[in-house]
Subunit: 336 residues, 2 copies
C-alpha cells in the first residue's frame, strides 16, 4: 500500500503534512508514502525529521512536483495550465499504478478536477462528489455532497446515496447503512422540488432509506449517511465550522472576565480538550472523493498532522476494502 | 400599540406565552396584549398569575380561539379548515385593525399561510418570506429566507434583500445595511445557478451589496443581512441548532467524567450561562414575516417566556418604525 501526500496544498506549509505522513508510517508498518512537492525542500526537511529513523525513512519517497495551485484559483483552469502541480503529479502516479491514493489539503475543486482529468469517472457514475464525516452524539455520519456539485438532478442525488452507502458499509462495517435525505421537514411532502423527486427515487430503491432528516438531525447520529446537493452540503459544513469557532471565541471571552472562571477553566480544560477532540474534523480523516476511478481524500486547508495521518488511514482502508468495486457493482444494479 | 400573542402554538403549553406577554407589559407601559386561545383556560390562568396586579391585568385581553394547528399539519389545509385557529383569529384582528401584530410559536408554515390569507402581500412583493436573527461575534445578523420559499428565482432573492435591508435599517438603526449573499465561495463565480444570477442582480442594485459570504461567515458579523433561499436558510438554521445542542451534550458528558472537572464547572458556570445567553435565539426576538400586509413574528416551538417577550418588542418596534411602508417604497424604486 503506497499513498501520495500533497505537502504544498494546505494553508500551513509542508511541515504538518510531512509530520502526518511520518505519523502514519510510524503506526502502520505495511504503509509506504510518497511526498509530493519541491524535492529539494522536502529532502532537506526529511533529513532533519527522520534522518535518524532509517526504518521510517526507507518507506518515504519524494516525488518532485514544483507547482502549487492556490486556494483562489479556478480549478479547471489551474489543472489545465499547471501540469506539475502536486495534485496533478499525484493522480498521474495513481493512473500509472505507482501509488494507490492521493491526500491533499489544497484547493478541493482543483483536487477533484485533477482526479477526474487523470483518472476519469468510475463506470456508471454521472457526477463524482465529495463525502465528509461529521461527528455526532453516536457514530460519525457521512454527508455527501459537500461542494463538488452545486446544481444537481435527483438522479445525481440517488447516485450519491448509492456511493456513500457502499463506502459507509465497507469503511464502518455497517451491513445496511441507514440513509437520510437532508430536507426541511420529516414528511415526504417537505422540501424543494429536487428533494421531493429524490425522495421518490430513494423510496423506490433497495437502499435502507429512512426518509428526510433535518439540519437539526445531522449531529444526532440516527442515520449513517446523509444526502444533499453540494451547495446545501457546503453551507451545512461551513456554517457548522463557523458556529464552532464563534462559540469557542464567545466562551473564551466570557471565561476571561473573572478570576473564578479562569480557575474553573484550569480544572475543566482536560474535559474541554476531550470535547474538542470529539468535534474535531481532524479525527475523522478528511473527505473522500467518491465516483472517481481511483482514490483521493481532501483534507481541510488548516489540517494538522493528525488530520493528514487519519486521512492516510481512511485512504488505505478504502483501497483495502475495494470501495470502488463495490460502487461500480451497486450502480450497475440500479442501472438495471 | 396592541399585540396579539398565540398561547397555543408552542410545544410547551400556554404558560410560557402568557408569562412572556406579562413580562412585556411589565417592561413597556404603552403596550396592550391580546391573548389568543381557549378563553376559559386563559381567564383562569390570568386570575392565578395577575389577579393581584390590576395595572397589568387591565392591559391584557383574552380573545377566544379554540382551535390548534399541530406542528405536523399541512399549513394550507389547516388554515382552510380551521377558521378558529389562534393564528387565523389573530390575523383577522390585524385585518380589522383591532391589533397591530401577531406573535406565534406554532407551525410556522401555517402562521405564514394564515397571514397571507387574511392580510395578503404588501404591494410589489412576489413572495413573502421569514427573516431570522443569528447571533454573531459582533451584532446579530438578519438571515432571510429561513424556510417559507424553497424553490426561488433570483428576482425573489433580490426582493428578500430589499425587504431585509429595510427592516435591518429601521430596527437596528443602520444607515446602509451591508448585504451578503450566502454561497460556497467569495468569488462571484462561486455558487449554484440561482446564486450566480442573484449576484448579478444585487451588484446592479443600489443596495450596499458586499458580495458572497460563506457558511463560515454567518457567525462573524461582518454583514448585517444575509440572503439565501428558504431551503438553504432552513438547513443553516437547523444545523446550527443541532450542533449547539450536540456540542453542549458532549461537553456535559466530558465534564461529568471527573470530580476535578465537576468542580471546575461550578466555578465556570456563570460564564457558561452568559455564553449560552449570547448564542440563545430567545434573546433575539423571533423571526419576522416580511412581505405580508401586516406584522407577524414566528417564534421557535420551544420558546420560553423571554423569547415571547422579546418577540413582542420586535413586533412593536416594526410597527412603530413603519417597516412595511419602507419595504413598499424600496420595492417601488426597484420596479422602476
Amino acid at each position: 500500500m503506497r499513498i501520495a501526500v500533497d505537502t504544498m496544498g494546505g494553508d500551513l506549509g509542508s511541515e504538518l503534512p510531512v509530520r502526518g505522513a511520518i505519523g502514519a508510517l510510524d503506526k502502520r508498518d505495511s504503509l509506504e508514502i510518497v511526498l509530493l512537492g519541491p524535492s529539494d525542500l522536502l529532502e532537506q526537511q526529511l533529513d532533519g525529521v527522520v534522518g535518524n529513523k532509517p526504518e521510517i525513512r526507507k518507506r518515504l519517497q519524494v516525488v518532485h512536483a514544483p507547482e502549487i495551485i492556490g486556494m483562489d484559483e479556478s480549478p479547471v483552469e489551474a489543472v489545465r495550465k499547471k501540469k506539475d502541480a502536486t495534485v496533478m503529479v499525484g493522480f498521474e502516479l495513481v493512473r500509472r499504478k505507482k501509488v494507490d491514493a492521493v491526500i491533499s489539503a489544497g484547493n478541493s475543486g482543483a483536487t477533484m478536477a485533477a482526479a477526474i482529468r487523470k483518472l476519469g469517472r468510475l463506470k456508471g457514475v454521472s457526477r463524482p462528489g465529495i463525502a465528509s464525516f461529521f461527528p455526532t452524539l453516536k457514530k460519525p455520519v457521512m454527508l455527501m455532497d459537500i461542494g463538488a456539485n452545486v446544481d444537481c438532478r435527483s438522479q445525481h442525488l440517488l447516485q450519491f446515496a448509492v456511493m456513500a452507502a457502499s463506502c459507509s458499509r465497507l469503511l464502518h462495517g455497517i451491513d445496511r447503512p441507514r440513509v437520510g435525505l437532508l430536507s426541511i421537514g420529516e414528511e415526504a411532502s417537505k422540501g424543494n422540488a429536487l428533494v421531493k423527486k429524490t425522495h421518490e427515487l430513494l423510496t423506490a430503491s433497495s437502499l435502507n432509506f429512512c426518509g428526510n432528516v433535518e439540519g437539526s438531525d445531522v449531529y444526532k447520529g440516527n442515520v449513517d449517511v446523509i444526502i444533499c446537493d453540494g451547495f446545501v452540503g457546503n453551507v451545512a459544513l461551513k456554517t457548522s465550522e463557523g458556529l464552532a469557532d464563534a462559540a469557542m471565541q464567545m466562551l473564551k471571552d466570557e471565561i476571561s472576565q473573572t478570576w473564578r472562571a479562569k480557575i474553573g477553566y484550569l480544572l475543566i480544560r482536560k474535559a474541554f480538550a476531550k470535547f474538542r477532540q470529539r468535534i474535531d474534523y481532524a479525527e475523522y480523516g478528511g473527505a473522500p472523493l467518491l465516483g472517481i476511478n481511483g482514490t483521493g481524500i481532501i483534507c481541510h486547508g488548516t489540517s494538522d498532522a493528525l488530520a493528514i495521518q487519519n486521512a492516510v488511514f481512511v485512504a488505505a482502508d478504502m483501497v483495502d476494502n475495494k470501495v470502488n468495486d463495490a460502487i461500480i457493482r451497486a450502480l450497475f444494479e440500479y442501472s438495471g
